[in-house]
């Protein structure tokens, strides 16, 4: 018998899936660009011994001093304390936000009428700028960890809720039919179709949720707190300790980039069965 072997275009997995992976030239230019910007910044704030001070360091901190301040901050022991406060709030918020969003999303996904009744409330709450609930959360939950967790949870909740909800609603009825024809019961349908399908929608929201969780925690600390990176930053700004403000921005950037990168990899691995277009973005 003859079988036509049309080898599919091999879809690369993992790291290679980054189709737009920068080549060496781009990489070199990036390094040059960043180094150039930092040097220019250093010079413009009176560094490099050029005496070319365009900005006061109280307004725009000098990169070398920011770096030194990061070391100071770490040495004082406060960095660890603040970071653990912020990350605890972010991760607890992420966890409860994901669990809550999934639970309510599943519930609404199955209970059509309930979902229809609640729809305006969900839409209204979702349209509310997240930060605006922060002051009231401080009133309700106090200055410590809890209020930050709740704010972080609140921002994550809706992302996961809407994705779970859509996931349940978008379960392919043809696949359900296929399982039933094979003799599968409700448990098989759940295991083979509903769970993987909903999970894919939730995984796709993971990256957004992680950065939302971090934002929620830091904003919560701005509004009222006694510790955390956001709290320390606000304090430093009040004291015109500009190096510290920039140092914390730098740290938050690093934390954010790493968390998003980790979740991007987790997502890419979990959703490796998807066509690559669906994975981008």
């Amino acid at each position: 018998m003859t079988v036509e072997h049309t080898p599919p275009t091999r879809v690369p997995f993992g790291r290679r899936a980054l189709a737009a992976r920068p080549d060496l030239r781009v990489l070199i230019w990036r390094v040059v660009l960043i180094a150039g910007l930092v040097l220019l910044w250093e010079a413009a704030t009176g560094g490099l011994g050029l005496g070319w001070k365009v900005f006061e360091t109280a307004i725009l901190a000098r990169p070398s001093l920011i770096a030194a301040d990061v070391v100071d901050y770490a040495g004082s022991g406060f960095l660890l304390r603040d970071m653990s406060a912020t990350l605890s709030a972010a991760f607890l918020g992420l966890f409860f936000g994901v669990v809550g969003g999934m639970a309510v999303g599943l519930l609404f996904g199955y209970l059509t009428t309930v979902a229809a009744v609640f729809e305006p409330i969900m839409v209204a709450l979702n349209s509310l700028p997240r930060i605006t609930v922060a002051p009231i959360l401080i009133l309700w939950f106090g200055l410590d960890l809890r209020s930050k967790v709740v704010l972080s949870l609140f921002t994550v909740f809706f992302v996961i809720f809407f994705n779970t909800f859509l996931g349940v609603r978008n379960v392919d009825p043809e696949l359900v039919k296929a399982v039933r024809v094979m003799g599968g019961g409700p448990r098989d349908v759940a295991r083979m179709v509903v769970i993987p399908s909903v999970a894919s929608w939730i995984f796709a929201a993971l990256r957004t949720s992680v950065s939302f969780a971090l934002t929620g925690a830091v904003v919560g600390e701005f509004i009222g707190s006694t510790r955390g990176l956001g709290y320390r930053m606000l304090l430093a700004a009040g004291l015109l300790h500009t190096e510290r403000v920039f140092a914390i921005m730098l740290i938050l950037m690093a934390v954010g980039v790493s968390l998003v990168e980790v979740s991007r990899r987790v997502e890419r691995y979990l959703l490796r069965w998807r066509p690559p277009q669906a994975q981008m973005g």
Partner: protein, 272 residues
């Protein structure tokens, strides 16, 4: 397994009458082709046989008897029926081999036996080397082969096929028709193959059942005299094939022409 459909009527509650007094028999181990214009209720009929139409969707009268059991009363034993749909319904999150194993998983077959069975079927249709590909990574023809062997894997006695090759290009379609007949000859499952393509029906079927346009009913049953195993490529070129095609077309043609006029199109194919 012998199937007989007796006086089947179906009207959807939304108002469409899909089937009117449909009666025909499928002999045990037969490959029966059902052909009719698009939207004539052929797929609906398969769905009734597979108990996929709940009473809240449609009013159904008549009997479907499989080996003496009225399936509309008693249902079909789980796993006794296979269904290959027009659109492949592979699980996108499962690889080829995991898809093929699905039916066996439902039956609780141990993993080793499952894998062995799935491997042999993958070999049977020439998919070796693609076991660990996800559906989106393989061609339409390969996906339909996977669908077919996923159905064969749990060894149902009856297989319903709803235009399974409809979305494939002409050449791949003929290759798969050949493979289907080879598999059928080796296993002697009872197969009902629904299509709107008369040539495909004649190529495959031992008999061809003609459906009228909606509400669908059986207008004719033809014996197709060509001996199995058939080679779709050789058969299509033979004068006997052309004669039979022309002969049946005279009857069916009226139904198809009526459909074409309805849509303001000519000879346009669409899904049933």
């Amino acid at each position: 397994m012998k199937i007989s459909v007796e006086g089947l009527h179906l009207r959807f509650h939304k108002g469409v009458e899909a089937l009117r007094d449909v009666s025909f028999e499928v002999r045990s181990g037969e490959l029966l082709a059902v052909v009719g214009p698009s939207g004539c209720g052929k797929s609906t009929m398969l769905n009734v046989i597979a108990s996929l139409i709940p009473p809240e969707e449609a009013e159904i009268r008549g009997k479907i008897v499989i080996d003496g059991v009225d399936v509309r009363q008693a249902g079909t034993p789980p796993g006794s029926l296979g269904y290959v749909f027009q659109r492949d319904t592979l699980f996108p999150w499962r690889t080829v081999i995991q898809n093929v194993e699905a039916g066996l998983e439902i039956r609780g077959t141990p993993q080793v036996a499952r894998l062995k069975k799935a491997r042999s079927l993958v070999d049977l249709v020439g998919l070796s080397g693609f076991e660990h590909y996800y559906p989106h990574q393989i061609s339409g023809g390969m996906r339909q082969r996977t669908s077919l062997i996923r159905t064969l894997a749990y060894d149902p006695q009856v297989i319903l096929m709803d235009e399974p090759f409809g979305a494939l290009d002409a050449q791949t379609r003929m290759i798969l028709q050949g493979e289907l007949m080879r598999i059928w000859a080796g296993s002697r499952k009872t197969i009902i193959f629904v299509t709107h393509d008369l040539a495909e029906a004649i190529t495959l079927g031992e008999r061809v059942v003609l459906f009228s346009k909606r509400p669908g009913t059986v207008t004719q049953v033809y014996d197709v005299p060509f001996p199995h195993p058939r080679d779709p490529f050789a058969l299509r070129g033979s004068p006997e094939f052309a004669d039979l095609h022309a002969y049946i077309w005279r009857t069916l043609g009226e139904e198809f022409r009526a459909e074409a006029e309805d849509k303001g199109l000519t000879a346009r194919r669409s899904t049933a």
